[in-house]
Symmetry: C2
Subunit: 313 residues, 2 copies
Amino acid sequence: MATLIAPSNHSPQEDAEALRKSFEGWGTDENTIIAILGHRTVHQRQQIRRAYEEIYQEDLVKRLESEIKGDFEKAVYRWILEPADRDAVLANVAIKSGKNYNVIVEIATINSPEELLAVRRAYLHRYKHSLEEDLAAHTTGPLRQLLVGLVTSFRYVGDEINPKLAQNEAEILHDAVKEKKSSYEEAIRVLTTRSKTQLRAAFNHYRGSQGVSISKKLVREEIDEFQKALYTAIGAINGPFRNLEKVVRKGFKKVGNDEEPLTRVVVTRAEKDLKILSGVFSKGKRGFFGHAIAKKILGGSQRFLSLFLGEEG
Amino acid sequence: MATLIAPSNHSPQEDAEALRKSFEGWGTDENTIIAILGHRTVHQRQQIRRAYEEIYQEDLVKRLESEIKGDFEKAVYRWILEPADRDAVLANVAIKSGKNYNVIVEIATINSPEELLAVRRAYLHRYKHSLEEDLAAHTTGPLRQLLVGLVTSFRYVGDEINPKLAQNEAEILHDAVKEKKSSYEEAIRVLTTRSKTQLRAAFNHYRGSQGVSISKKLVREEIDEFQKALYTAIGAINGPFRNLEKVVRKGFKKVGNDEEPLTRVVVTRAEKDLKILSGVFSKGKRGFFGHAIAKKILGGSQRFLSLFLGEEG
């Protein structure tokens, strides 16, 4: 359910030439950049990068970075990269900023184990360090254990679950959510090693015994970075979709114009499930998501991101 | 520098038929099993497994398990598996036994990052759990942190090092080796995330400032499982070869007939570097390693393992 509208036949060479032309003269022709890149699949974008490099002996991504600025540049830059490479960049930005670890938790939990592995490969290739290496060097204590455990996991993907284990581990998670510090280590073990299916079975047990979804328990304001990461991990594994929706909702609520979270969700989900996401978000109100984006995000990046909302926009 | 002597042209079908014949009648013809499997490369062995399955609708490995027993069976079983699958089995045996974590440390450190990843894949496929999942469920505290960190690492492979970091982290490792408990967490971080080249640079700093190799500091008797794993990790990263030699030496010294460590080293290194290892071990004395094996290991497995020593045997 992608929202991207891309032609089935395009010429990477012609696209490369049109982009080059948009850079020439005074100023940059943003509309051409938007019209081309906003309508090309991940595969087509990589073809354009290669064609551009061949024709002009220049890295298209670097050229774009020098041509456009600010949020629009960020949006285009994140968009043009392959998904694993993009997540590697997002993770690196989060590590360097020393906050926004929820981005890393999302990358580690919403991606499939194979996709996460691809992110780790891309990170190694790009930064000559491993993702866990940089992450561990910037964090300590339980936060480090949780984050490093999440990004290094290579979980079992399958339907086999152990109901007894789910019951026991629901209690461990319950204690952790109640902020019993002694249970953190075991809660980290459970969250970083069990399969997502097994974890959801534990979350179901939690709901059964507590009468409320574990995700509902996590709505608190004053929490530290570890708790934030713990809650994001639980939320994102329990309902990846609801988690993304929450990120979007928070992005809209935020005062000021930090476009980062909205841009991130739109760009990373455009070729996956953005249409469902915007539908859920808009509760059937046609165009609601697009209008919200239009109110919050301005200029080139607004016109650019709106494209990915397809018919909804 | 493999020691295995294998024919370049062999017929998987004929091999499968000969093996089948060796199982028939009263008792099993061990010599045929040794003569065939002891002279086939990893690729050829997989071809034989497939051919056997096709002709007889039966799993060769299972049949071998029922035909032969004890140490010989163990040796043949470990040998017939693909390397990653074999390491997955070895790791699982170690986890279940609740000791011999050094086996897991070796798998995580002597293998390349890609090889380690293949072991994790094989483990998932075979046990429907992740390696780190089972490992974490059987351990606690710093031992768990270290072991899980080692098996989940996906280290940078390359020559880029940071000398300043090497210096700082040599001190962290120094404190850990001096058993300063407060330094364990950081020592675990360093050992589980840095590239092997970076770690060796830290070990070199250690030698420079302490006047002795870090590996030499690790020869102590009464240590707990965590320290054992810590020391094995340092030793195996600092000198994988010396570490294997140590395992062999200990295997020979051991009273009783626990053939496991010797079998493990011979079988896992036969197609890699066993010849160099036996040469180093024998210090030029021709046949020394083979004689030592012959003294320690008896029966079918002795005849079988001796084959891998090639000319040295």
